[in-house]
Amino acid sequence: MSALTVAVPAEPPRRDITAVLPRADRRLALGLRGAALTSVSVLGLIGLFLLIKAWPALHRAGWGFLTERRWLPDVGRFGIASVLEGTIVIASIALVVALPVAVAVALFISEAAPPRLRSALISVVDLMAAVPSIVYGLWGFFFLQPRLITVSRWIAVHVGGAVPFLSVHDPSTASSFTSSAFIVGVTLSLMVLPIATSVMRQVFAQTPQAEREAAYALGCTRWAMIRGVVLPFGRSGIVGGAMLGLGRALGESISVFIIVSPVFTYTTHPLQSGSNTIAALIVERASESSTFGVAALLAAGLVLFAFTLVVNTVAGIIVARSRSGAATEI
């Protein structure tokens, strides 16, 4: 027996391969990176400049800025407690009004509407999102308010006795009901509606066909299928859509300013005239404030910035996490 020797082929020397990009490509990469960096830095700059310019006010007010409800910057008594609370109350009202309608419209578009109506309705939702907010403000003030007052009064008279926060001081005059947080909230719901609807619609539409068909094969009616398959599947879409809508409602300024009658007390009775939000406060005071007053307003803007940033980031994460939302545009 002879030993079998096999020649092992020597490994060829490694060659390092480096791509030498043409000059135009290097310039392109540089240009695109620069554009992306500039765009991204705008967000940071907004926060930074608000912080720098608001610092004198924040420094003077200290933590009291979050607990003081009055807004008298020139005598040093100012804080966002009441406007922040008003912002949250009004945004919540907008959300409560808009959400059921948004879910229903989204379900109608993705599940029930005939195909031609479907694409028309999608266009209408997009158009509704594009109508300037000042137009909604005018509509809310001149069209909606006189009609909503009757509803406010009915609630205040018939439900207000049992539920104290729905009552008003003097239900006999219309001026008790005008410019209330409720009317602002309903107007804002018009702006929340298209945003929430379009997110929910996209998530609902991604329900797997096989699971729908399985439900039908088990004898479900369409509604039973929607409850059993589409709604559980789209839950994160509903939450995400609601939070994006909330972000819009929190930051809306002009239409709130047109309708609301500003007060610096807590909004405890949403049907009663008078409330305020951070954004409306900024619109109201920006042109007539002293230098220090402007710094105080910028501080309020900084709080709004942080607040909406948190809400929208959480919303984005929720939508992105959903099994369905992988390809969803928000």
Partner: protein, 364 residues
């Protein structure tokens, strides 16, 4: 030979899983009529709820009850009843939304008609017109000029940046792509008043410039940048990667591929993205309000002096407690709605083309 008879194939009977529309609509219609009639009677005599909105709310509740009863009686099935009622609720939500859009646009047009019907409304300014003067005098010319210039500058500033960002996201393998996409998405949600405050803090407080149209344009471009970037990113991702790979296989560099393949393929979609960005900012009041300053005079120069724009015009005139001023505000507001509508229709028409359609046609 015996004749073989072959049975002509019978078209399979179409199975309807759901009754035809007429059969669905008739009971709904009948229920609606019954509900409206009943509520009308109740309203006249009993119910304390007043006003048209209350009437329609009650009528709708009554309609749902009557319809549920009718379906339950005719089909005898609980499940069928729930299904039909749910369908009607969903459809009425769609109808409600449609009604609101029509009412918003229609109401704005009707209230603004007094100003809009004078042709002078579009060619005069309100420099020498008081709020109480008749609607024949004065108009939105100065505001329209301001809006046009500001939106144009905002487009020039934001579109190159937005397009570059979108190309960075879709055409490079940069490591920061995920982070950039998240930040851009977050930016679309920044309240518009903060865009105004930001430019106010930089341009006016830090650098000490006066209020001007240019500042307003910058505020608008902060608002427009993320909108256009996101829409373009979506469009660019729709460009088939086969086209890119074919271009690379032919030895084209990345720059050549972007210039000759990617951008021309996505052209229609990119135009749509820009139009939607313009539609978004053209009616923005909050950013303009803080930075532009107010004047009723015509100012062609965006770099110096306050400059009026359409949203600012609406905002200013609606605050007067005078009918003529409010009518002017509505006239300007309707002009804004029409601008948005036109931009939107153009964007839809362009957007309905498939990406690459034009390119493929040329090759064939």
């Amino acid at each position: 030979m015996t004749a073989v008879t072959v049975a002509a194939p019978v078209a399979p009977r179409r199975v309807r899983t759901r009754p035809p529309l007429t059969q669905l609509a008739a009971p709904a219609l009948a229920s609606a009529v019954a509900a409206i009639a009943a509520v009308d009677v109740l309203f006249r005599w009993f119910l304390p709820l007043t006003g048209s909105l209350g009437f329609w709310l009650s009528a709708y509740a009554a309609f749902l009850l009557v319809y549920a009863g009718v379906v339950a009686l005719t089909t005898g099935s609980r499940e069928a009843m729930k299904d039909r009622v749910a369908t009607v609720v969903l459809a009425s939500a769609g109808l409600l939304m449609l009604t609101v859009v029509v009412l918003v646009v229609g109401f704005t047009a009707v209230r603004g008609w007094g100003a809009l019907r004078h042709a002078g409304f579009f060619v005069h300014t309100t420099a020498e017109t008081g709020p109480q003067d008749p609607l024949k005098s004065g108009g939105i010319y100065a505001a329209a000029v301001g809006t046009l210039e500001q939106v144009l500058i905002a487009t020039l500033v934001s579109v190159p940046l937005a397009l570059g960002t979108a190309l960075y996201l879709s055409e490079t393998d940069g490591r920061a792509r995920k982070a950039v996409r998240i930040v851009v998405e977050t930016m679309t949600a920044i309240p518009s008043i903060l865009a105004g405050l930001f430019i106010f803090a930089i341009v006016i407080l830090t650098f000490g410039f006066q209020r001007s149209g240019l500042g307003a344009a910058l505020a608008l471009s902060v608002e427009m940048l993320p909108v256009v970037a996101r829409a373009s990113d979506v469009v660019l991702r729709l460009v088939p990667s086969g086209l890119r790979e074919a271009s690379y296989a032919l030895g084209a560099s990345r720059w050549e591929t972007v210039k000759r393949v990617v951008l021309p393929t996505a052209r229609a979609g990119l135009v749509t993205a820009v139009l939607l960005g313009i539609a978004r900012v053209v009616g923005e009041t909050a950013p303009v309000l803080l930075v532009a300053g107010f004047t009723s005079e015509l100012n062609y120069n965006p770099t110096s002096g306050p400059q009026l724009s359409l949203p600012l015009f609406v905002f200013t005139y609606v605050k007067f407690p005078i009918d003529n001023a409010i009518t002017r505000a509505f006239g300007a507001a309707f002009t804004l709605v029409v601008i948005v509508l036109v931009l939107f229709v153009i964007a839809r028409v362009l957007g309905n083309r498939q990406p690459g359609q034009r390119w493929l046609r040329r090759v064939r």
